[in-house]
Amino acid sequence: MHLADPAVLSALLFCTGLYGVLARRNAILVLMSVELMLNAVNLNLVAFDVWLSKAARDTLHSGQALTLFTIAIAAAEIGIGLAIVLAVHRNRGTADIDRLRDTAEGHEDGTAGTPTDAAADEKAEATA
Protein backbone atom coordinates (compact mmCIF):
# COMPACT_ATOMS: atom_id res chain seq x y z
CA MET A 1 0.00 0.00 0.00
CA HIS A 2 1.18 3.48 -0.78
CA LEU A 3 2.21 5.27 2.39
CA ALA A 4 0.75 8.52 1.07
CA ASP A 5 -2.80 7.11 1.20
CA PRO A 6 -3.19 6.98 4.99
CA ALA A 7 -1.10 10.15 5.33
CA VAL A 8 -3.38 12.10 2.97
CA LEU A 9 -6.50 10.73 4.65
CA SER A 10 -5.07 11.73 8.02
CA ALA A 11 -4.29 15.25 6.80
CA LEU A 12 -7.80 15.66 5.39
CA LEU A 13 -9.41 14.42 8.61
CA PHE A 14 -7.25 16.75 10.65
CA CYS A 15 -8.27 19.74 8.55
CA THR A 16 -11.92 18.71 8.81
CA GLY A 17 -11.57 18.73 12.58
CA LEU A 18 -9.78 22.08 12.37
CA TYR A 19 -12.70 23.55 10.45
CA GLY A 20 -15.11 22.14 13.03
CA VAL A 21 -13.18 23.61 15.96
CA LEU A 22 -13.04 27.03 14.32
CA ALA A 23 -16.57 27.17 12.91
CA ARG A 24 -18.79 25.44 15.42
CA ARG A 25 -20.64 27.33 18.10
CA ASN A 26 -21.85 24.58 20.44
CA ALA A 27 -19.16 23.40 22.86
CA ILE A 28 -20.02 19.73 22.43
CA LEU A 29 -19.66 20.00 18.66
CA VAL A 30 -16.23 21.52 19.24
CA LEU A 31 -15.36 18.49 21.38
CA MET A 32 -16.47 16.21 18.53
CA SER A 33 -14.16 18.06 16.16
CA VAL A 34 -11.29 17.68 18.62
CA GLU A 35 -11.98 13.95 18.59
CA LEU A 36 -11.70 13.97 14.81
CA MET A 37 -8.32 15.68 15.01
CA LEU A 38 -7.05 13.18 17.58
CA ASN A 39 -8.20 10.32 15.37
CA ALA A 40 -6.31 11.77 12.43
CA VAL A 41 -3.16 11.75 14.54
CA ASN A 42 -3.88 8.14 15.54
CA LEU A 43 -4.16 7.07 11.91
CA ASN A 44 -0.81 8.68 11.15
CA LEU A 45 0.83 6.93 14.10
CA VAL A 46 -0.55 3.53 13.13
CA ALA A 47 0.38 3.87 9.45
CA PHE A 48 3.95 4.93 10.16
CA ASP A 49 4.33 2.22 12.80
CA VAL A 50 3.25 -0.45 10.31
CA TRP A 51 5.65 0.95 7.74
CA LEU A 52 8.57 1.11 10.18
CA SER A 53 7.93 -2.32 11.64
CA LYS A 54 8.47 -3.78 8.17
CA ALA A 55 11.18 -1.40 6.97
CA ALA A 56 13.35 -1.35 10.09
CA ARG A 57 14.69 -4.45 11.75
CA ASP A 58 13.48 -4.06 15.33
CA THR A 59 11.30 -1.29 16.59
CA LEU A 60 9.69 -0.51 19.90
CA HIS A 61 6.25 -0.40 18.25
CA SER A 62 6.15 3.12 19.55
CA GLY A 63 3.46 4.18 17.11
CA GLN A 64 0.91 1.68 18.35
CA ALA A 65 1.81 2.23 21.99
CA LEU A 66 1.42 5.99 21.53
CA THR A 67 -1.89 5.37 19.75
CA LEU A 68 -3.17 3.50 22.78
CA PHE A 69 -1.97 6.32 25.02
CA THR A 70 -3.67 8.88 22.79
CA ILE A 71 -6.94 6.96 22.90
CA ALA A 72 -6.83 6.81 26.71
CA ILE A 73 -5.96 10.51 26.99
CA ALA A 74 -8.79 11.33 24.58
CA ALA A 75 -11.20 9.40 26.78
CA ALA A 76 -10.02 11.35 29.83
CA GLU A 77 -10.25 14.59 27.86
CA ILE A 78 -13.81 13.94 26.74
CA GLY A 79 -14.85 13.16 30.34
CA ILE A 80 -13.29 16.31 31.77
CA GLY A 81 -14.49 18.42 28.84
CA LEU A 82 -18.08 17.27 29.16
CA ALA A 83 -17.99 17.87 32.92
CA ILE A 84 -16.78 21.44 32.29
CA VAL A 85 -19.42 22.01 29.60
CA LEU A 86 -22.16 20.71 31.90
CA ALA A 87 -20.95 22.94 34.75
CA VAL A 88 -20.96 25.95 32.41
CA HIS A 89 -24.42 25.04 31.18
CA ARG A 90 -25.67 24.73 34.76
CA ASN A 91 -24.26 28.08 35.78
CA ARG A 92 -24.86 30.12 32.65
CA GLY A 93 -27.77 28.38 30.99
CA THR A 94 -25.96 27.98 27.68
CA ALA A 95 -23.26 25.89 26.05
CA ASP A 96 -22.70 28.52 23.37
CA ILE A 97 -19.04 29.44 23.05
CA ASP A 98 -19.75 32.82 21.47
CA ARG A 99 -21.59 33.99 24.58
CA LEU A 100 -18.86 32.97 27.03
CA ARG A 101 -16.73 36.07 26.61
CA ASP A 102 -16.56 37.44 30.12
CA THR A 103 -12.77 37.52 30.07
CA ALA A 104 -12.52 38.87 26.52
CA GLU A 105 -11.32 42.40 25.94
CA GLY A 106 -13.03 44.80 23.58
CA HIS A 107 -16.48 43.21 23.73
CA GLU A 108 -17.95 45.25 26.56
CA ASP A 109 -19.89 47.54 24.21
CA GLY A 110 -21.10 44.82 21.86
CA THR A 111 -24.58 45.21 20.46
CA ALA A 112 -25.82 41.74 21.33
CA GLY A 113 -23.34 41.00 24.08
CA THR A 114 -24.68 43.21 26.86
CA PRO A 115 -28.29 41.99 27.16
CA THR A 116 -27.34 38.35 26.83
CA ASP A 117 -24.61 38.76 29.40
CA ALA A 118 -27.04 40.47 31.75
CA ALA A 119 -29.58 37.69 31.24
CA ALA A 120 -26.90 35.07 31.77
CA ASP A 121 -25.75 36.81 34.94
CA GLU A 122 -29.29 36.92 36.24
CA LYS A 123 -29.73 33.26 35.48
CA ALA A 124 -26.43 32.45 37.16
CA GLU A 125 -27.50 34.34 40.23
CA ALA A 126 -30.87 32.61 40.19
CA THR A 127 -29.33 29.17 40.00
CA ALA A 128 -26.54 29.87 42.48
Binding site: A27, L31, I73, A75, I78, A83, L86
Partner: protein, 213 residues
Protein backbone atom coordinates in the same frame (compact mmCIF):
# COMPACT_ATOMS: atom_id res chain seq x y z
CA UNK B 1 13.14 0.56 1.38
CA UNK B 2 15.35 -1.25 -1.10
CA UNK B 3 14.19 -4.51 0.44
CA UNK B 4 10.62 -3.73 -0.49
CA UNK B 5 11.17 -2.90 -4.11
CA UNK B 6 11.31 -6.44 -5.35
CA UNK B 7 7.55 -6.44 -5.77
CA UNK B 8 6.33 -4.17 -8.55
CA UNK B 9 4.34 -1.23 -7.31
CA UNK B 10 2.25 0.97 -9.49
CA UNK B 11 -0.56 3.43 -9.40
CA UNK B 12 -2.40 1.65 -12.19
CA UNK B 13 -2.47 -1.79 -10.61
CA UNK B 14 -3.86 -1.33 -7.13
CA UNK B 15 -4.31 -4.30 -4.90
CA UNK B 16 -7.58 -5.17 -3.20
CA UNK B 17 -6.37 -3.74 0.08
CA UNK B 18 -5.61 -0.40 -1.55
CA UNK B 19 -9.02 -0.24 -3.19
CA UNK B 20 -10.74 -1.09 0.07
CA UNK B 21 -8.61 1.49 1.89
CA UNK B 22 -9.53 4.21 -0.58
CA UNK B 23 -13.25 3.39 -0.49
CA UNK B 24 -13.42 3.25 3.31
CA UNK B 25 -11.31 6.41 3.41
CA UNK B 26 -13.82 8.20 1.20
CA UNK B 27 -16.67 7.09 3.46
CA UNK B 28 -14.75 8.19 6.55
CA UNK B 29 -13.89 11.59 5.12
CA UNK B 30 -17.47 12.16 3.97
CA UNK B 31 -18.83 11.23 7.37
CA UNK B 32 -16.35 13.61 9.01
CA UNK B 33 -17.43 16.40 6.65
CA UNK B 34 -21.10 15.80 7.49
CA UNK B 35 -20.18 15.75 11.20
CA UNK B 36 -18.70 19.22 11.10
CA UNK B 37 -21.27 20.74 8.75
CA UNK B 38 -24.66 19.34 9.73
CA UNK B 39 -27.07 21.57 11.60
CA UNK B 40 -28.69 18.78 13.60
CA UNK B 41 -26.62 18.16 16.70
CA UNK B 42 -27.65 14.56 17.33
CA UNK B 43 -27.00 13.70 13.69
CA UNK B 44 -23.49 15.08 14.09
CA UNK B 45 -22.84 12.60 16.90
CA UNK B 46 -24.25 9.73 14.84
CA UNK B 47 -22.15 10.65 11.80
CA UNK B 48 -19.15 10.73 14.12
CA UNK B 49 -19.88 7.04 14.79
CA UNK B 50 -19.56 6.37 11.04
CA UNK B 51 -16.27 8.27 10.85
CA UNK B 52 -14.76 6.50 13.86
CA UNK B 53 -15.97 3.10 12.68
CA UNK B 54 -14.44 3.76 9.27
CA UNK B 55 -11.15 4.56 10.99
CA UNK B 56 -11.39 1.23 12.84
CA UNK B 57 -11.75 -0.52 9.47
CA UNK B 58 -8.69 1.39 8.24
CA UNK B 59 -6.73 0.11 11.22
CA UNK B 60 -7.81 -3.41 10.35
CA UNK B 61 -6.65 -2.92 6.76
CA UNK B 62 -3.31 -1.69 8.11
CA UNK B 63 -3.10 -4.97 10.11
CA UNK B 64 -3.31 -3.16 13.44
CA UNK B 65 -5.96 -5.41 14.91
CA UNK B 66 -5.68 -4.53 18.58
CA UNK B 67 -5.88 -0.80 17.90
CA UNK B 68 -8.96 -1.41 15.76
CA UNK B 69 -10.85 -3.19 18.50
CA UNK B 70 -9.76 -0.67 21.11
CA UNK B 71 -11.05 2.04 18.77
CA UNK B 72 -14.41 0.30 18.46
CA UNK B 73 -14.68 -0.28 22.21
CA UNK B 74 -13.60 3.12 23.47
CA UNK B 75 -14.60 5.58 20.76
CA UNK B 76 -17.73 4.05 19.29
CA UNK B 77 -18.72 2.46 22.57
CA UNK B 78 -18.12 5.10 25.19
CA UNK B 79 -17.01 8.45 23.79
CA UNK B 80 -19.98 8.85 21.45
CA UNK B 81 -22.35 7.75 24.21
CA UNK B 82 -20.78 10.37 26.48
CA UNK B 83 -21.23 12.98 23.74
CA UNK B 84 -24.89 12.01 23.33
CA UNK B 85 -25.39 12.26 27.10
CA UNK B 86 -23.78 15.70 26.99
CA UNK B 87 -26.08 16.77 24.17
CA UNK B 88 -29.10 15.60 26.16
CA UNK B 89 -28.02 17.21 29.43
CA UNK B 90 -27.33 20.58 27.81
CA UNK B 91 -30.84 20.52 26.31
CA UNK B 92 -29.64 20.53 22.72
CA UNK B 93 -32.40 21.15 20.19
CA UNK B 94 -33.58 18.03 18.38
CA UNK B 95 -34.37 19.55 15.01
CA UNK B 96 -32.33 21.88 12.85
CA UNK B 97 -30.66 24.58 14.89
CA UNK B 98 -29.90 27.64 12.75
CA UNK B 99 -27.05 28.85 14.96
CA UNK B 100 -24.89 25.72 14.94
CA UNK B 101 -22.15 27.54 13.02
CA UNK B 102 -20.68 30.79 14.22
CA UNK B 103 -20.14 33.91 12.18
CA UNK B 104 -16.53 33.22 11.27
CA UNK B 105 -17.47 30.18 9.20
CA UNK B 106 -15.88 31.41 5.98
CA UNK B 107 -12.67 32.38 7.74
CA UNK B 108 -12.56 28.89 9.28
CA UNK B 109 -13.20 27.35 5.87
CA UNK B 110 -10.34 29.34 4.36
CA UNK B 111 -7.96 28.31 7.14
CA UNK B 112 -8.94 24.64 6.85
CA UNK B 113 -8.62 24.58 3.05
CA UNK B 114 -5.21 26.27 3.17
CA UNK B 115 -4.00 23.85 5.86
CA UNK B 116 -5.32 20.86 3.92
CA UNK B 117 -3.66 22.00 0.71
CA UNK B 118 -0.32 22.58 2.43
CA UNK B 119 -0.40 19.30 4.36
CA UNK B 120 -1.47 17.18 1.38
CA UNK B 121 1.15 18.75 -0.84
CA UNK B 122 3.94 18.21 1.68
CA UNK B 123 2.88 14.65 2.53
CA UNK B 124 2.48 13.54 -1.08
CA UNK B 125 5.77 15.13 -2.02
CA UNK B 126 7.57 13.48 0.89
CA UNK B 127 6.17 9.94 0.67
CA UNK B 128 5.66 9.61 -3.07
CA UNK B 129 7.97 6.64 -3.39
CA UNK B 130 7.32 4.88 -0.11
CA UNK B 131 5.30 1.72 0.13
CA UNK B 132 3.94 -0.21 3.08
CA UNK B 133 4.54 -3.93 2.89
CA UNK B 134 1.40 -5.47 4.31
CA UNK B 135 2.40 -9.07 3.71
CA UNK B 136 3.69 -11.44 6.32
CA UNK B 137 2.70 -11.39 9.98
CA UNK B 138 0.37 -8.74 11.27
CA UNK B 139 2.22 -5.72 12.58
CA UNK B 140 -0.30 -4.97 15.29
CA UNK B 141 -1.67 -8.25 16.59
CA UNK B 142 -2.56 -8.48 20.23
CA UNK B 143 0.52 -10.53 21.03
CA UNK B 144 2.96 -8.10 19.43
CA UNK B 145 1.25 -5.05 20.89
CA UNK B 146 1.04 -6.51 24.36
CA UNK B 147 4.66 -7.63 24.33
CA UNK B 148 5.96 -4.24 23.25
CA UNK B 149 3.62 -2.44 25.64
CA UNK B 150 4.70 -4.40 28.69
CA UNK B 151 8.38 -4.66 27.78
CA UNK B 152 9.20 -1.15 26.65
CA UNK B 153 6.30 1.02 27.71
CA UNK B 154 5.49 -0.13 31.22
CA UNK B 155 6.27 3.12 33.01
CA UNK B 156 4.18 5.36 30.70
CA UNK B 157 1.41 2.76 30.92
CA UNK B 158 1.29 3.01 34.71
CA UNK B 159 1.51 6.80 34.58
CA UNK B 160 -1.44 6.70 32.19
CA UNK B 161 -3.47 4.71 34.69
CA UNK B 162 -2.79 7.37 37.32
CA UNK B 163 -3.86 10.02 34.78
CA UNK B 164 -7.11 8.17 34.13
CA UNK B 165 -7.80 8.00 37.86
CA UNK B 166 -7.11 11.73 38.20
CA UNK B 167 -9.45 12.44 35.28
CA UNK B 168 -12.17 10.30 36.87
CA UNK B 169 -11.88 12.12 40.19
CA UNK B 170 -11.78 15.47 38.42
CA UNK B 171 -14.89 14.72 36.40
CA UNK B 172 -16.77 13.67 39.53
CA UNK B 173 -15.70 16.81 41.40
CA UNK B 174 -16.61 19.07 38.48
CA UNK B 175 -20.03 17.53 37.91
CA UNK B 176 -21.05 17.40 41.57
CA UNK B 177 -23.87 19.63 42.71
CA UNK B 178 -22.53 22.81 44.26
CA UNK B 179 -25.34 23.20 46.84
CA UNK B 180 -24.01 20.31 48.92
CA UNK B 181 -21.12 22.45 50.17
CA UNK B 182 -22.73 24.71 52.89
CA UNK B 183 -23.95 21.75 54.94
CA UNK B 184 -21.06 19.52 55.93
CA UNK B 185 -21.39 15.78 55.54
CA UNK B 186 -22.89 13.98 58.56
CA UNK B 187 -19.71 12.16 59.54
CA UNK B 188 -17.76 15.38 59.99
CA UNK B 189 -20.72 17.01 61.73
CA UNK B 190 -20.95 14.33 64.37
CA UNK B 191 -17.22 14.41 64.93
CA UNK B 192 -17.29 18.17 65.43
CA UNK B 193 -20.24 18.14 67.85
CA UNK B 194 -18.76 15.33 69.88
CA UNK B 195 -15.20 16.48 70.00
CA UNK B 196 -15.75 20.16 70.67
CA UNK B 197 -17.34 19.80 74.15
CA UNK B 198 -14.82 17.13 75.10
CA UNK B 199 -12.00 19.53 74.23
CA UNK B 200 -13.43 22.66 75.81
CA UNK B 201 -14.98 21.02 78.88
CA UNK B 202 -12.44 18.35 79.52
CA UNK B 203 -12.47 18.90 83.26
CA UNK B 204 -16.24 18.60 83.55
CA UNK B 205 -17.06 15.56 81.41
CA UNK B 206 -15.40 12.35 82.54
CA UNK B 207 -13.40 10.42 79.99
CA UNK B 208 -15.15 7.07 80.56
CA UNK B 209 -18.54 8.62 79.90
CA UNK B 210 -17.29 9.88 76.55
CA UNK B 211 -15.94 6.48 75.75
CA UNK B 212 -19.17 4.71 76.73
CA UNK B 213 -21.21 6.99 74.56
Amino acid sequence: MTAMTQAPHGFLSPTGVEVAFLLVGLVTFGAALVTVTTRQLVHAALWLVVALGGLAVEYLLLTAEFIAWVQVLIYVGSVVVLLLFGLMLTKAPIGRSPDADSGNRWFALAVAVCAAAALVWVVVDAFRTTWIDLGGAAAGSTKVTGASLFQNWVLPFEALSVLLLAALVGAIVLSRKANADPTPPPVNGRAVTQSSPSVTNRGIHPIEQEGAR
